[in-house]
Symmetry: C2
Subunit: 400 residues, 2 copies
């Protein structure tokens, strides 16, 4: 079972981490470093936005890889829309870390989050990197998880144990991101570590699949910021027989990675800006996963649904209206809708339901919505949050 665990990125064997203060944010640590004691296989998934921040371009060119040593990340400045200088700065961040660690420059990955269009203050960054390398330790995971936070109100970490071919393997991860979840996400950065032995190709395949059902349930393709990145490092120190092809070992690893990713994604939804509750929306009965996801995402993105959730109103009409404009065909007469275990609609028409119980259910911190639109095998789940006064406050009062 997945656990929320402080310091999760250093839970697998052979990882060190640190958080340091470079001075980009007004207060607190803003530079995180995760390093492997030995060369690690690495994979990544990145934003599909046309505007890609410099660190995305650099890291994307370096994975999948077989000998990555570290990932450096800063908050406070996204290094996006910063032109050629931004590229030089991103490269310089990786070479500064590599020099301090005594490893090749291209064995370091980089990620940034924060304001767009401002040059990176490299003096501060470089000083922060020196501090972070000095502070690297097996106890540094929690500090790293705090250093990547921007408007996040709590650090987000998860870890799991999984037996692979009789060998105990660990996976740990941390994530930041608390913009309004869909359709216009503030940057989400996730860093996952494992001591599994696995080939770069298999690791990339597993990460792509995990990201699709977890992080992309928040930040559906095309809905991504300039900086969104998810990294996974696998250093093989668990000693399992290296996973190089499909089979039960890969399945076990995939399933554990899915669990960690999903836990991290849900934590991001819970911490949505101004959120008073997390809303899990599952759509079933379409022809494909993509169709189910498209409907679920349209519901999740609806400001009218989000405000109804904030108001604790079992407003099935808004859910239905959103589903109906998602661009996916289905028979209106086949629709069933549940909030928790309370049925609101059958055969596309409202049923009598206990109003008070529905209202009480919506006052809970986690609300589940289930929409069935037919008999197909397609199903998808997305996570979002409600839309409160504080969301407006946070985003209207944040100034460039």
């Amino acid at each position: 079972m997945v656990e929320k665990m402080s310091g999760a990125v250093t839970y697998p064997k052979g990882y060190l981490a640190a958080g340091a203060r470079a001075g980009l944010k007004e207060s607190g640590n803003d530079l995180a470093l995760v390093a492997s004691e030995c060369p690690a296989v690495a994979a990544g998934v990145f934003t599909t936005n046309i505007f890609q921040a410099a660190p995305v371009t650099v890291s994307k060119s370096r994975v999948p890889a077989s000998s990555v040593r570290a990932v450096v990340a800063n908050s406070g400045n996204a290094n996006a829309c910063t032109g050629e200088q931004g590229m030089l700065d991103a490269l310089s961040m990786t070479s500064a870390v590599a020099q301090q660690l005594g490893v090749p420059a291209d064995s370091v990955l980089v990620a940034s989050t924060g304001v767009i269009g401002h040059a990176m203050p490299m003096d501060k960054i470089n000083a922060g990197i020196v501090d972070a390398v000095r502070s690297l330790s097996v106890d540094g995971g929690a500090s790293a998880a705090r250093a990547i936070m921007t408007t996040d109100t709590f650090p987000k970490e998860a870890a799991i144990d999984v037996s692979i071919g009789g060998c105990m393997v660990r996976i740990g991860g941390m994530v930041k991101g608390s913009g309004m979840i869909c359709p216009n996400v503030a940057t989400m950065l996730a860093f996952i570590t494992t001591d599994a032995a696995i080939s770069p190709e298999m690791l990339q395949k597993c990460l792509s699949r995990s990201a699709e059902i977890s992080f992309n349930g928040l930040t559906v393709d095309g809905d991504t910021s300039t900086n969104d990145s998810v990294f996974v490092l696998a250093n093989g120190m668990a000693g399992n027989k290296r996973i190089e092809s499909d089979g039960p070992e890969l399945d076990a690893f995939q399933s554990a990675l899915d669990e960690v990713s999903t836990s991290l994604a849900k934590q991001v939804a819970i911490d949505g800006e101004g959120a008073t509750k997390m809303v899990e929306i599952t759509v079933r009965g379409t022809e494909s996963f993509e169709d189910a996801r498209q409907i679920a995402k349209t519901i999740a993105n609806s400001p009218l649904v989000k405000t109804a959730m904030f108001g604790n109103d079992p407003n099935w009409g808004r859910v239905l209206a959103a589903a109906g404009r998602a661009g996916v065909g289905f028979d209106p007469k086949s629709v069933k809708l549940f909030f928790g275990d309370i049925a609101l609609l059958r055969h596309g028409e409202p049923v009598d339901f206990p109003q008070d119980a529905a209202h009480d259910l919506l006052t809970q911190p986690e609300v589940k919505v289930l929409l069935e639109v037919g008999a197909g095998s397609g199903t998808a789940t997305v996570w979002t949050c409600d839309f409160s006064y504080d969301y407006i406050k946070i985003n209207a009062e944040y100034h460039t």
Copy 2:
């Protein structure tokens, strides 16, 4: 030139209108009737939502038409998700009007807006229809425009004169709709009248084109509610040579209809729920209108852009991030961005701009955003509004 005019639907020759109280809303008139003194050509465009309200199904089956006599509309109940009984009720509304007017039942069109999933209180509706027919007058346009309002804070009307083949033709229209404009519109209903003589086919063609560049700039295809409808009636009483094919007469009519439709659409954006300003977003330089519209719509739908507008923050990063995830390819290095006449970006990179002037510009009631993404001839304009505390208040406190 188009004018905002009280009573605009009865400005063209031969139209009568009335607003009456059926008692569906807590107060005020909630039943509107527009009638032509002689059979009118009629056209319509309707929601693309899978869930179509009963009045949409009825009216859609009756246009284009050559002998429509009236349109009846109610606010307070959408007659949506109401099953077979809803269909019977919508048909019954048209036959009640027809009976009172002494015209064929299928010469009456119907539209509804309000809560979803509640049976129409037909006793109230029928009494309202009797009152409305009794009150029909050439001075009833303004009353009708008020009777279709739901959360609208002001009635929305526009009219224009246009010379067609030397003959003076009038077009008038009214609209209701003030949900958050895109992506999840509350119902928009528009009623346009003209005394032009024109064939049903040409009228439908003109309306479809006008709706595409005006109302669909608010409620882009697929983003429509269960009830959205736009109607146009043309009774020929201006005496122009009937327009039956392409040519300068059609062009003149099209252009005038475009102006009325665009004025009505902009009034809806200005009255967006909780809006403190209207935002007009133009995208230029794509390969097609559709591409430009897709980018403009993605910017307009971005809660982060909307909240920045509310906060009077010239946050070009949010505009850019939205444009980049619209799913339309363009070269980031070719991008230019203007707020009003202030350039914020050239070649995809920020330029120094006068911060105070940009802030002042954003405090105006109408803000223009222009994004150029290349050298193509595609261009599109959409209208939206900012996202304020009051939007959350209106929609979280509205209960089913």
